[in-house]
């Protein structure tokens, strides 16, 4: 299913992180019962925070609702496992005869996780369709509603007062085992196919859709998984405390866990663990200080809530100073890599990246295919077009951005779309790739009607694209960027699937494959974006201003590169650009748009000679009314009379 992926590296990384934290906890726990309690709470917090981080860090959506799941799980396991005698006192009127039921603890914990996951699964259906702040606020609503229910459904939960008598079974070792399971499983998720998709969607949703990723579905998986493990933490928590109350699962816990996430780093599991440890240490230190200890001759006053105060300080300071947290998005393996680099063992200097062979270098393994001219004659030979846009129109707020446009793209040809500013070229591209939906007309790709299809579906049919401003997944490595697309190909069009490493080699990106895409120079980023689109195995490739920002030398190289891509992939290419020498040299056929309409079509030579095209770019010589300029004022030209402009009493 692609939800978990085992690699030695990330498995070991997870284990090592746990061992480190566990070691610290065990060490601390040797100091006596109360210290062991603190250590155990810390480990349980770690489970809950890592659980939350899987969703928050991967989706980029802050969630307050996970504390609610903690509360639900805690209460479910409490209600199910508390002895009947206790329940008769605390919740005598419990529904479903729960007051007389007592399940063994493991079963109760299992039930707690199951029930919470089920509830989360339902809520997630809505949340995963929403974006950013709206989703966060709904999760906040979840927290409040859960709290409200816990307090007010007295028959079930015993209300605002403590629900006591829960069997105390959690000790440090069980907690550590739970943590190990959580970290390992969730790390396996992070690098799995679905995990990769969620992370890609976090980086750039539009780009993710353009390579066929189902953003909502992937996010949903992350949500459910995170609820599952947060629930585990909550259930274990109940069995540590022995008594719980709704107030435990409200703002205080939320503040604590957000401080932990913010400090350590939202984007990595290791970061979450670091955050848990550091905040626990600070918290304990401040609690000790707030109790009014005597140090030497200094008597500190008693201060309530000092450690909670610290959470606020931590959050504010880190948001201003290091919003990525101490670790940012780095996992523990990367610390290892960094150490290796410091000792000079790694060899990825920037200069080799710049010297990478020109894009699209054809590797020896792939033999040259029939020369391009054979393919481009598809238009002339009467073959069927691969893309047919018929009378397509779209308007935004009354403005007709694209007006009754019809174009055809033939297999294997390189086709250009040119025109002045505001002509509708990018709009047309967006219509074809599904980002916009046409108000009128029809778009057919390989015989299928795609006019109203969502971008991700169109991508899955074999349409790849690049964007005007390069949209990579900056925090993902180059390899991961390309892999997201090749995995989509593998899943939906296995006949064109090529392994990601093959594509990396094809584009000469071996040396930068492990680097985060956002750190690369712009030219390489553009190569990566094209490689990613090509990894989809598209039959039609849409390029939006590929030559933007290139100088004359680079644009010549680009012409070669684009031709090579077409030759190797045997796809049709539709591109927009303003660099007319580039377009005229590269494209075999052109459409010219102006003010949303097609005003000319033909070969480059034909287009260059076309009067209408010249007019579109340069404007007309004399517009009506230009003759009168010698006499009148501007206001008169607007037909409003009164030569007020030449009044001198101003």
């Amino acid at each position: 299913m692609g939800i978990f992926k085992f690699t030695r590296r990330n498995f070991i990384g997870g284990v090592v992180a746990c061992v480190l934290l566990g070691g610290a906890a065990l060490l601390y726990g040797t100091g006596g019962v109360s210290m062991r309690h603190i250590a155990t709470v810390m480990v349980l917090n770690a489970i809950m925070v890592v659980g939350t981080q899987v969703f928050v860090g991967h989706s980029g959506v802050l969630s307050f609702g996970h504390i609610g799941f903690v509360g639900i799980a805690a209460y479910v396991t409490a209600i199910l496992s508390a002895p009947a005698a206790v329940k008769q006192t605390v919740i005598p009127h419990a529904p479903l005869g729960l007051a007389s039921l007592q399940l063994p603890v493991p079963l109760a914990i299992l039930a707690a996780v199951a029930v919470t996951t089920a509830i989360a699964a339902i809520i997630g259906l809505f949340i995963c369709r929403m974006n950013g702040i709206a989703a966060s606020i709904v999760t906040f609503a979840v927290l409040i509603v859960v709290n409200s229910v816990l307090i007010n459904w007295k028959d079930l939960t015993g209300g605002a007062e403590a629900f006591y008598g829960i069997p105390v079974k959690t000790n440090l070792y069980w907690a550590l085992l739970g943590l190990l399971a959580t970290v390992v499983v969730l790390r396996l998720f992070t690098y799995s196919r679905v995990g990769l998709r969620v992370r890609a969607s976090r980086e750039d949703e539009v780009a993710a859709r353009s390579i066929g990723i189902g953003v909502h579905r992937s996010r949903y998986v992350a949500w459910v998984l995170s609820a599952m493990f947060t629930a585990l933490g909550g259930a274990l928590f109940a069995h540590l405390l022995g008594a719980i109350a709704p107030a435990l699962f409200y703002e205080n816990l939320m503040f604590l866990q957000i401080a932990m996430l913010v400090l350590g780093g939202i984007f990595s599991v290791t970061g979450a663990l670091v955050g848990v440890v550091v905040v626990t240490v600070i918290s304990e230190a401040l609690r000790w200080l707030g109790d009014g200890p005597q140090i030497g001759s200094l008597q500190f006053p008693m201060i309530v809530g000092l450690s909670s105060l610290a959470y606020g300080v931590i959050i504010v300071i880190f948001m201003i100073w290091r919003p990525g947290g101490l670790l940012g998005d780095r996992e523990i393996e990367e610390v290892w890599d960094w150490l290796k680099r410091r000792r000079g063992k790694d060899t990825v200097p920037v200069s080799t990246a710049a010297a990478a062979p020109p894009m699209g270098a054809v590797p020896a393994a792939i033999t040259a295919d029939p020369p391009a001219s054979q393919l481009t004659s598809a238009r002339r030979s009467g073959a069927k077009p691969i893309l047919v846009v018929s009378s397509v129109g779209i308007h935004f707020a009354g403005l007709r951005a694209v007006d009754d446009v019809s174009i055809e793209v033939y297999p294997g040809e390189i086709l250009g779309l040119i025109g002045p500013n505001g002509a509708g070229k990018t709009t047309l591209l967006n219509l074809i790739s599904g980002l916009y939906t046409a108000n009128s007309g029809e778009i057919m790709f390989q015989g299928r009607t795609v006019t109203h299809l969502a971008p991700m579906k169109i991508a899955r049919l074999g349409v790849g694209r690049t964007f005007q401003t390069t949209r990579l997944f900056p925090l993902l490595s180059v390899r991961e960027n390309v892999e997201t697309a090749s995995q989509v190909a593998q899943q939906y069009r296995p006949q064109v699937y090529r392994h990601v490493d093959e594509i990396i080699v094809q584009f000469g990106l071996q040396d930068v494959a492990q680097r985060k895409a956002g750190t690369l120079p712009f030219g390489i980023q553009r190569q990566v974006e094209i490689a990613r689109a090509v990894a989809l195995g598209p039959d039609l490739l849409l390029l939006d201003e590929p030559a933007a920002g290139t100088n004359e030398v680079e644009s010549l190289q680009l012409i070669d590169a684009v031709r090579r891509v077409r030759d190797v992939e045997k796809c049709a290419i539709l591109l927009i650009d303003h660099d007319l020498p580039f377009v005229m040299n590269l494209c075999e056929h052109l459409y010219v748009l102006d003010a949303g309409k097609v005003i000319a079509e033909g070969s480059p030579d034909e287009i260059q000679a076309d009067e209408k095209v010249k007019e579109a770019y340069l404007g007309t010589q004399k517009a009506a009314g230009a003759e009168e300029r010698k006499g009148g004022s501007a206001a008169e030209s607007f037909g409003q009379g009164s030569a007020a402009a030449s009044r001198s009493d101003v």
Partner: protein, 261 residues
């Protein structure tokens, strides 16, 4: 700057010829380099505008024209190069400061405040002027120059038609009492007749003492109204000449499109 709009020069009809050797250089841009994301949108552009001139920067879309104006105005920081206004180095100064220095920008797409009335839009232009009397006078002048705005003074700016909106955009910037008026594609979205009217209005402004720098795609129409022009393509200046010299279409097309006939 609270300088009132100067009295119209009597007898001034038609475009003045290029300012003589004693004219002050109002704006000087030297080897400006600006990046837009990771793209170098402006690569070493140098240009000057003398007092009393109307200068155009022409070129196809994506050439970097808007970025030049944005760099001058401080909306975006140049990577290198300098901008001098009236002799002072204003490179990278914030837009608010540039306005106070006397540079006004009518941005691309106008960016009117649609939820505010025409009157409010205009008043906002004068928001930071110290001389309230002068500002009031200027408001009256604007209404005199653009009677349709006076008629619609209490209507929401979002309800204006294209031509009216362009008038409001220009009037609003005029209310900031600029000495140098920059316009970013004022003809965008306007019918040809209105485009001429806009350019004529600029001539009128010049006759009142304003210096104008405008960025346009619509080359041939513009060339009749300006003194000098630069053609920019791919971030670099490809041609610089007086308006008459530029009307040789072949050369212009070559500079513009990079392709000859």
């Amino acid at each position: 700057m609270g300088r009132p709009i100067p009295v119209a020069q009597t007898g001034a009809q038609g475009p003045a010829t290029s300012a003589g050797p004693c004219a002050t250089t109002m704006l000087r841009v030297d080897r400006l380099v600006t990046r837009y994301g990771a793209i170098e949108a402006v690569r070493g552009v140098s240009l000057t505008v003398d007092e009393g001139e109307i200068v155009a920067v022409l070129g196809p879309n994506g050439a970097g024209k808007s970025t030049i104006l944005a760099s001058i105005m401080g909306l975006v920081r140049p990577a290198s190069g300098t901008v001098h206004f009236l002799g002072k180095d204003v490179t990278g100064m914030e837009p608010e400061a540039m306005v106070r220095m006397g540079v006004g920008l009518v941005p691309e797409g106008r960016r009117l405040f649609k939820e505010l009335t025409v009157n409010d839009n205009l008043r906002l232009g004068a928001a930071t002027r110290k001389d309230k009397e002068a500002a009031k006078n200027d408001l009256e002048t604007m209404f005199a120059m653009f009677p349709i705005l006076k008629e619609r003074r209490n209507q929401l700016a979002g309800l204006l038609s294209g031509g009216e909106a362009q008038q409001l955009a220009i009037a609003r910037t005029m209310m900031t009492a600029p000495r140098l008026l920059c316009l970013d594609e004022p003809s965008l979205g306007l019918a040809p007749l209105l485009v001429s009217a806009v350019f004529e209005m600029l001539l009128d402004l010049r006759s009142r003492g304003y210096t104008i720098l405008l960025v346009e795609q619509n080359a041939l129409q513009v060339l009749e109204f300006v003194d000098r022009a630069y053609v920019i393509r791919s971030g670099e200046i490809k041609m610089e000449a007086s308006a008459e010299a530029m009307q040789d279409e072949k050369k212009l097309l070559h500079a513009y499109l990079g392709v000859g006939d």
